[in-house]
């Protein structure tokens, strides 16, 4: 019999605590497949954030450190400087990375820290129950922007990938979407490229993954995927914003 699918070795074969329809599971799988392909599971150290992915260490089958809210890039820096031959990645949500950890991510990129960052942008705080994130779209209703995000009061959503792409130390910066099979395939390629960038020593790498939060968006999973494609992608364009070769491809 031909085997057409298997759980990646870098993932533990167990159910996750993520909500039905949440894209964290897809992102975990893509990262784990990449670790398998590169054959680096035994020298990979992951850094878990504060947020829905705080228990990521329960799902990946490699060494892990759990970091304080937003500090994962600093923790990853400490690890990488002690174990330079390790493959170090952080897995962070938008509250963690784009809000409280904004300084840490910018300076890890500035130093060209040889780490890979998987940035899950679902435009909301998930774990704490649906509050407004820096990435929440204008007009989007959350538990702390009940009338919809209003730019004069709460500012406009931050485009992390574009911002980090202006930093010389950032060798690979891409934005992908986990909303369709084709987009997931592109996401996989970007994640692989990010890890390759780390292994080649070229510098900092980050893949921003547009993701859904059906629970806090108040939508069914399919509806959430459609909302992502019709609302998030127009504001957060997909593509590579910086590559080690210097090429940039949007869209």
């Amino acid at each position: 019999m031909k085997q057409v699918y298997a759980v990646p070795k870098a993932l533990q074969p167990r159910a996750t605590h993520y909500c039905p329809g949440c894209t964290h599971g897809i992102a975990h799988k893509l990262v784990a497949e990449t670790i398998d392909e590169l054959g680096v599971r035994d020298r990979t150290i992951g850094v878990a954030p504060v947020g829905c992915a705080v228990f990521a260490y329960d799902y990946f089958d490699c060494d892990f450190q759990q970091a304080a809210h937003g500090r994962a890039p600093a923790v990853a820096t400490g690890i990488k400087r002690v174990v330079p031959d390790a493959v170090v990645f952080t897995y962070q949500g938008d509250g963690d990375l784009a809000s409280i950890g904004a300084a840490e991510i910018v300076h890890a990129a500035m130093r060209g820290e040889r780490i890979t960052v998987i940035f899950i942008n679902n435009a909301i705080y998930g774990m704490t129950g649906g509050q407004m994130a820096p990435t929440t779209l204008l007009g989007q209703k959350t538990t702390t922007s009940p009338a919809g995000r209003e730019p004069g009061h709460a500012g406009s959503p931050i485009r992390i990938a574009e911002m980090l792409a202006t930093i010389p130390g950032a060798a690979y910066v891409a934005r992908v979407s986990l909303s369709s099979p084709a987009n997931v395939a592109r996401a996989k390629k970007a994640i692989r490229k990010a890890f390759d960038t780390q292994l080649s020593g070229a510098g900092f790498s980050l893949v921003e993954c547009l993701s859904t939060c059906p629970t806090n968006w108040g939508m069914a999973p399919v509806e959430a995927m459609e909302w992502l494609e019709s609302n998030m992608i127009p504001y957060y364009p997909l593509g590579e914003f910086r590559t080690p070769e210097g090429g940039v491809s949007n869209g």
Binding site: V47, Q65, Q66, R71, V83, E104, M110
Partner: protein, 356 residues
């Protein structure tokens, strides 16, 4: 004895750390401790180590967390406002049972305060400055040589108890120069701790550095484990110096820079016929409660002297436990007490409590 060299306190701490096998330093500039990161930026690359200037104290202490979790011998240094920022990370380091050294060259506060020496960080150093149930082991050196000696021991102590160790200095100790002898460098132990996350190599099971325990019974057990380790330190690591306490009617209690002024005050008072002794805590956490309680059996009164408006005095009162009156004399804001002012306080207490 090794050759003695004239060294500034801050640089002596840095050199001692290197000789103790520290190979990783993450810091952020703040007065009056800048000579430590500056020295490390020159010195660590010579021994194959890494110095990194972080974007903030918050980032620096979280780099320490990552490095310690990966098995590195690691330290950071700062001064009071910077230590406040580090408290988040120190709490996580304590919760995740990671060893490291944190040096605090204390300056006056609150807020931005000043840059002159103070001892007003006692509470945040010894009572657990961050959130949650934990303690650090805190050394309070009183000379440049003692800073060297305690820095060298600090890494072993941190690793033995898997908890953060702090050197609680002050702006004077950091800035003053004294002759010091350094021990020979210790060989860096290549064997990685059996909990370190440096990659699950050679087929071992993955490891986790973590401080989250969502189930109350789990967190209860975890905190009891941390507390049990601190209880071991209370037995094995408490250090103090007692001078002239056997016949003393009045016992001064002071640590660090203030203890040096108190020695002069003690000499002045003794010359005036007042029997004065001094207890100098060398560890302020765990605190030498028993040593002070023992002295309280014969002393008529205590005088705690601090460069604060009264922090350690609370622990002295706990130790004395009503056996004798505990008086307090303090200066704040970067003002150092004078030996004559302390001797005057001693005289007043002698008149009131001892009757002479």
């Amino acid at each position: 004895m090794a050759e003695r060299k004239l060294f500034k306190g801050n640089e002596a701490v840095a050199e001692a750390a290197v000789r103790a096998g520290c190979r990783f330093f993450f810091g952020y500039p703040i007065t009056p401790q800048n000579e430590i990161p500056e020295y490390m930026s020159r010195r660590l690359p010579e021994v194959g180590g890494v110095f990194l200037q972080a974007e903030s104290e918050v980032a620096a202490i979280n780099m320490v967390y990552g490095a310690a979790g990966a098995g590195g011998r690691v330290m950071t240094s700062s001064s009071s406002p910077g230590i406040s920022l580090k408290q988040e990370g120190i709490s996580y380091i304590a919760g995740a049972e990671l060893p490291c050294l944190i040096v605090n060259m204390v300056r006056g506060g609150p807020g931005l305060g000043g840059i002159q020496p103070a001892q007003s960080d006692y509470f945040q150093a010894v009572k657990g400055g961050g959130h949650g149930d934990y303690h650090c082991i805190v050394f309070a050196p009183a000379s440049v040589q003692e800073m060297v000696d305690l820095t060298i021991q600090a890494f072993d102590v941190a690793e033995r108890y898997r908890m953060p160790v702090m050197i609680l200095g002050d702006g004077i100790l950091g800035q003053m120069m004294e002759p010091v002898a350094f021990p020979d460098p210790v060989p860096v132990d290549a064997a990685l701790a059996d909990w370190a996350t440096a990659g699950a190599r050679d087929g071992r099971a993955p490891r986790l550095i973590n401080s989250i325990y969502l189930r109350p019974d789990e967190l209860f057990r975890h905190n009891l484990k941390l507390q049990a380790r601190f209880d071991e330190a209370k037995i094995a690591e408490v250090r103090h110096e007692a001078i002239n306490t056997d016949d003393a009617d009045i016992v001064l209690v002071a640590y660090g820079t203030t203890s040096r002024v108190c020695r002069s005050a003690m000499d002045r008072a003794r010359a005036a016929g007042i029997r004065v002794g001094l207890v100098r805590p060398i560890t302020v956490s765990p605190f030498p409660y028993q040593a002070i309680a023992d002295v309280a059996r014969t002393a008529r009164a205590f005088l705690t002297v601090e460069m604060s408006l009264g922090q350690m005095v609370e622990d002295v009162k706990l130790a004395v436990c009503g056996a004798a009156p505990v008086h307090f004399y303090g200066t704040t804001g970067g003002v150092v007490p004078t030996s004559s002012a302390i001797a005057d306080e001693v005289r007043k207490i002698a008149m009131a409590e001892v009757g002479k």
